[in-house]
Amino acid sequence: MTRLVYFAWVRERIGKSEEDLDLPASVETVGDLLAHLRTLGEEYEAALEFPDAIRVAINQEHAERHERIAGAREIGLFPPMTGG
């Protein structure tokens, strides 16, 4: 099981702030994960319709699309940041 956490409008569109998912073995990279999540229902489709606008963190560190997610305890998905 991998913990997924969502923030800002990604959280609002998916309709929850976190969930534990069993990811298929074929989901190896961050890019694979985004593609997989879009198959889970229209709320995911709506949240991820512009994949380039989604930022991903593995174990609370920023991660690029090609990075492998094997062993991740927590994966965060969120829009570009607007703090400060």
Binding site: A8, A57, Q60, H62, F78, P79, M81, T82, G83, G84
Partner: protein, 159 residues
Amino acid sequence: MPVPSILRPIVSVQREDIDTRAIVHALTDGRTDVGALVTFTGLCRDEAGRLEALELEHYPGMAEAELTRIGEEAIGRFALLGLAIVHRYGRMEPSDQIVLVAATSSHRQAAFDGANFVMDYLKTSAPFWKKEHGRDGTEGGWVAARDADDTARLRWKQD
């Protein structure tokens, strides 16, 4: 040669208001080597009367970790003598403080550059998001990231 001690930034992610005076005291009290202190405070604007409030959401844990990473890089890069980064979350009204960066150094340019660097990186990599609430009662939606912030960050790239 003495091994330089590893200086860690003071980092706080908090709901309550920012006590700048206390932070500055923590960085300067009893120090006779500090020649320069630069503070940056980010405040909530009302956007010409349009805005009632901002709601700041953050990624607990990652926010602290990311601010610490940015702070450590700034300390090393500009040889700062001290650095504090405080970022609030929750609801802010116009004129409320949102963020404080305070940097100390021997000479003035390092403190200016250190604080400026932290703000540029914070804007584009610290996991905080702003949602606007309009004075007309509308939920104004999430603030969009600005290309200008990415550009500002690029100026610190080293060859």
